[in-house]
């Protein structure tokens, strides 16, 4: 199947099945109070850690070759949120990143554009300018990324600034301290407040920082909490801690969005971020998506990779498929 055709079809289809992301009736009473929310989250079935990791590992052994590989690489490129989140980010670097997002491989115009560029709020305007006239979105991290340790008023101001500057997507971090202390309602209220601040123009991605949640059970609870609060996307991590996206925790979140849609009819996207550096890894994640959530998620409206160095590896693999020769880092940009 040709990529362009397919993703166009999927995007159109997606709109038809998607309902507005408000708390659905079936689950509306669970967020009525702190205790009902706690009862619901702790009532979620426990995660079989060994089974989960074994399942993720076994799905990682699929052999994806030739035309399927070419399709997977193009799909993966179109799902990349090209990210730069460093203290040393300059307007020049953001502009270069924007140019790369719009046209990842200038030597091959059939290469799809990436999904978005992901920057800090103060760089949104620069990024917006850099991708103007293309379909590439601008995502901005907000809410005192990456720690999230700031008063709620500061977090909301952070979000409003980013949205006002033109961000199409907001990546917020949850308050892990409150979550781990069992203060679920506080986390819920924060997410709903941020969702409100996003308004109708920006989609909200909720980052759980799975590396800090310590158990799979917690990741499952956080996923449901995020979705109940109205997240458009759930995202594994900030990329700033030791453990980032792994196949196992992404599989767990994919199961959560699948079950959530089955119960409520609302589709939520998934974004693994951090630590995905090779095409091989990216293709493994796509296999997870297809086998767990299903084909509906195989589109950059519903699945993203938060990455920076991954794109270069995808481009080198793409060049290898096109020419038959192994490519090298001399033939992609240095970011």
């Amino acid at each position: 199947m040709r990529t362009g055709l397919y993703s166009r079809y999927a995007r159109r289809y997606a709109r038809l099945v998607t309902m507005p992301t408000t708390a659905p009736n079936a689950l509306s009473d669970v967020t009525a109070s702190d205790s009902t929310l706690r009862r619901f989250l702790h009532g979620l079935p426990g995660v079989d850690a060994v089974g989960l990791e074994a399942r993720a590992a076994s799905l990682g052994t699929r052999s994806i070759k030739t035309t399927a590989k070419a399709y997977a690489i193009d799909l993966a490129i179109s799902m990349v949120d090209l990210t730069t989140l460093e203290g040393a980010d300059t307007p020049g670097k953001v502009r270069a990143l924007g140019a790369k997002a719009v046209r990842p491989d200038p030597t091959d115009r059939t290469t799809p554009a990436t999904a978005a560029v992901c920057v800090y709020p103060d760089m949104v305007a620069t990024a917006k300018e850099a991708v103007a006239g293309s379909a590439v979105k601008v995502a901005s991290v907000a809410t005192a990324f990456p720690a999230g340790r700031a008063p709620i008023a500061v977090k909301l101001a952070d979000v409003r600034e980013a949205v006002a500057a033109g961000a199409d997507e907001i990546d917020m971090v949850i308050d892990r301290g409150a979550f781990l202390a069992g203060n679920y309602m506080k986390v819920y209220d924060e997410i709903t407040a941020v969702k409100e601040a996003c308004g109708t123009s920006a989609r909200l991605k909720v980052i759980f920082e799975t590396g800090e949640l310590s158990t799979y059970d917690n990741i499952r609870r956080a996923s449901w909490l995020g979705m109940l609060a109205g997240a458009d996307f759930i995202k594994t991590s900030t990329g700033k801690v030791a453990v980032n996206a792994t196949p196992a925790n992404t599989l767990l979140m994919l199961e959560a969005v699948r079950d959530f849609r089955a119960q409520t009819g609302v589709q939520v996207g998934v974004k693994p971020a951090g630590g995905i550096r090779t095409s091989k890894d990216a293709v493994k994640f796509l296999v997870l998506v297809n086998e767990t959530a299903g084909e509906d998620w195989l589109d950059n409206h519903w699945f993203r990779f938060g990455a920076s160095s991954l794109l270069n590896d995808l481009l080198m693999q793409r060049q290898k498929l096109a020419t038959g020769r192994y490519s090298g880092p001399d033939y992609v940009t240095v970011d």
Binding site: Q319, G324, R325, Y326, S327, G328, P329, D330, Y331
Partner: protein
């Protein structure tokens, strides 16, 4: 009296300082000069070649950036380690090339001496092929040799150890990193060399050793966009032509196979200079004073 069970050695590739089996899981039978089975060697695939190039590229910055003196010390350390395992190499070379113990011993001694010789060259080659150039202007004009990068080396087919050392040592002495394709018929001394390199302070990835069908592994290396040069010592005429054509795509430096009768003869600096680039820097000396000189 009980006979001991034979402890057979599993020969493995040497890539990135580690000893992996071939990614393909394949092996092939290696025989001695008379056709008697010696061991199974890994039959490397093009993906092993790709992984080796990645490892070599990763090691290049550190190795080329090390001081020439430090590289010399490390190469001398390799010679020391070889000396300690002389008996093993004598046996392997004797079996591989059908030589007597004495003749094989001569080969191994010559190989160790060759290694020491190149170890001495690391901090001297710059004086020989670089230097200050006289120019008509107020400039210091300095040329210095710089390593080419990742070099693919097809080891000689016949001389399994002395020939091998004579092509690897000059490549890495100047700061290049190497992906070596061992002799197809007698790869065992080369695979054992990996064990010496791994224990002599040589950073992992500086030398990567693959065994298998030369034509199969060399083709992707010659076409690889991230390999900067290729030494065709172990290719026959037809293969060398084919590889040189593939290598032209990214303008690799190509060292054509030389007719070598006797690897024991020293080759001079040719094998080092074949994989060097010359960097020339113009440095202003400042304006000339009234007296005609700024100093």
């Amino acid at each position: 009296m009980s006979d001991r069970l034979n402890v057979l050695k599993t020969y493995k590739l040497y890539v990135g300082g580690k000893f992996p089996r071939s990614e393909s899981g394949r092996v092939y039978e290696v025989t001695d000069a008379k056709g008697k089975w010696l061991a199974n060697a890994p039959l490397a695939s093009r993906k092993d070649a790709r992984d080796a190039v990645v490892a070599a590229r990763k090691a290049f910055g550190g190795w080329s950036g090390a001081t020439a003196y430090n590289r010399g010390q490390i190469l001398y350390r390799v010679a020391e380690m070889l000396e300690g395992r002389r008996d093993q190499y004598v046996r392997e070379v004797a079996e591989a090339e059908g030589l007597s113990k004495a003749k094989a011993g001569e080969q191994v001694d010559a190989a160790i001496d060759r290694w020491v010789w190149y170890a001495g060259w690391t901090d001297k080659i710059a004086q020989v092929v670089g230097g200050g150039n006289p120019v008509a202007g107020p400039f210091f004009n300095l040329s210095s040799p710089e390593p080419t990068g990742v070099v693919a080396v097809l080891a000689p087919r016949k001389s399994s150890f002395l020939g091998l050392v004579s092509v690897i040592a000059p490549v890495i002495a100047t700061g290049n990193t190497a992906v070596v394709v061992a002799s197809e018929t007698s790869p065992l001394p080369a695979l054992s060399l990996g064990e010496v390199l791994a224990t002599s302070d040589l950073p992992g990835g500086v030398v990567n050793i693959l065994s298998g069908r030369t034509a199969e592994i060399a083709a992707p290396l010659a076409a690889h966009q991230d390999v900067n040069a290729i030494d065709l010592a172990g290719a026959d005429e037809a293969l060398a032509k084919e590889l040189e054509i593939a290598a032209a795509d990214n303008l690799k430096r190509v060292l054509r196979p030389q007719p070598v009768d006797n690897w024991a003869a020293t080759s001079g600096t040719d094998r080092m200079t074949a994989f060097l680039e010359t960097k020339t820097v113009w440095h202003p000396t400042g304006s000339l004073g009234a007296s005609g000189s700024a100093y």
